[in-house]
């Protein structure tokens, strides 16, 4: 968080610990190591998000974890102005691998966010849980 005029809106909102399931545990274990994983299906070849054991495109159960650079473009966003911890930005990123990912945009001037802007993943700490993927403009 910064109090300078150029980046006043670095996210102050704390992100809660994500609920981790037996199915999503490998993702969060990798996140703890700073690696961003997505799932890809060996049946149809497509990547999907959020990660599932069965492919939501073709229903094959042959899905595998794949490390992603976490790069993409902003599909849409909204800056929440009514928040006790100050404004924060939620939005979707269309990953270069195809699927859209719901996330927060951090470490940026919210008034400069734009649809189509290139962004990259980073991880933000949570309280008593694994770090979660967030995105910043590149």
């Amino acid at each position: 968080m910064s109090d300078t005029k150029t980046a006043p809106e670095a996210q102050a909102r704390k992100i809660p610990a994500p609920p981790v399931t037996i199915e999503s545990k490998p993702f969060w274990d990798a996140a703890t190591e700073g690696r961003f994983l997505i799932k890809r299906c060996n049946g149809c070849g497509k990547a999907h998000w959020y990660p599932r054991a069965l492919c939501p495109i073709c229903f094959s159960d042959d899905t595998v974890w794949e490390e992603s650079p976490g790069e993409g473009v902003i599909y849409t966003y909204s800056v929440m102005r009514r928040s006790p911890t100050g404004p924060y930005a939620i939005g979707y990123v269309t990953l270069n691998e195809g699927p859209a990912v719901l996330t927060n945009f951090v470490d940026c001037d919210f008034d400069q966010l734009a649809i189509g802007q290139k962004v990259k993943v980073k991880f933000q700490d949570t309280e008593n849980g694994p770090p979660v993927p967030v995105f910043s403009p590149v």
Partner: protein, 394 residues
Amino acid sequence: MSIKGQAYIMGAYEHPLRDAPDISTPQIHAESAKGALADAGLTKDDVDGYFCAGDAPGFGGMSMIDYMGLRNVRHMDSTETGGSSYILHVGHAAQAIAAGKCKVALITLAGRPRQQKFGGFGGGGRPGQLTDGPPEAGFENIYGGTTHNTYGMCAMRHMHEYGTTSEQLAWIKVAASHHAQWNEHAFLRDVVTVEDVLNSPMIADPLHRLDCCVVTDGGGALIVTSPEIAKSLNRPKVKVIGAGESPKGPMGGHDLDLTHSGALWSGPIAFEEAGVKPSDMKYASIYDSFTITVLMQLEDLGFCEKGQGGKFVADGNLISGVGKLPFNTDGGGLCNNHPTNRGGITKVIEAVRQLRGEAHPKVQVPNCDLAIAHGTGGSLGTRHGAATLIMERE
């Protein structure tokens, strides 16, 4: 109509596990579905009806439909009667098939009570423990999504793709307020202007406070009867002539398109069954959690071309007595009432008032004989269920 001989059970599968520490409840639902579909010789894309009960994570099957990527579902039923739910679902599925609402119904059950030592169920659980709630929760619920900013994302994208403006959205609130002034029970009765909406505080870009619906306590109820009972009662008859429903979700992140809603599918089903067109409607109750909700649904239902909603709602076109399509003449969720954050029932109630000729005289549509009530539940910004109902005065 009877269900006798109208439906067959053609696939059945019992999951082999009796102790499942290593797979999630959604996965057991999906593996069971896959097994039953394989048994029947069908694929998930053949499924157009989905039935589940309280064991399905998320609400009303929305999470499971999205988890499994059931793209073609047009009939949904999450009736919960405990352990008997799935027997009851077969009966309901037969009714739906007999009525032509679906052709391939999928019923699933799954759970992991032996794993409760590992954490709470239903999305809870303490940090560090594994949970077994809605499968999307860990990837979505942490980002501070509210109704305001998830609908804000839809509005932002709609503006980007179609040039829709805040001024155009504001006209929807203006129209609702013109109607609410005549409703003595309305939560907000003051007529507002486009400027009032634009000058109200920004809540979640690009939605202002007056783009949002009210938060109200309250409730409502409806009575639906057989034709014989209806004939015996001394009240104007409102006939149900068409209904459609559809889920919509990201389905693995490939079907996001936040500029349209499930109305794109539920609308045509309802209009076709009723044998009428959008342009035949004399009155429309359109779910109005936010101004953008109305705009997107009007487009998806076919009241105007996709992307032309902004032009359609401008200049008072939704005001009764002024424009082409009188909408939400009770003041809607934007001004009148949104009881317990579920606005569907008030949409039907005002349509019934209009069809009976019992709306307030200042907003009553003359000779109102055909009306639509349409709504979405869940979030347009993530996953939702759409429902369209067409009614006729008899």
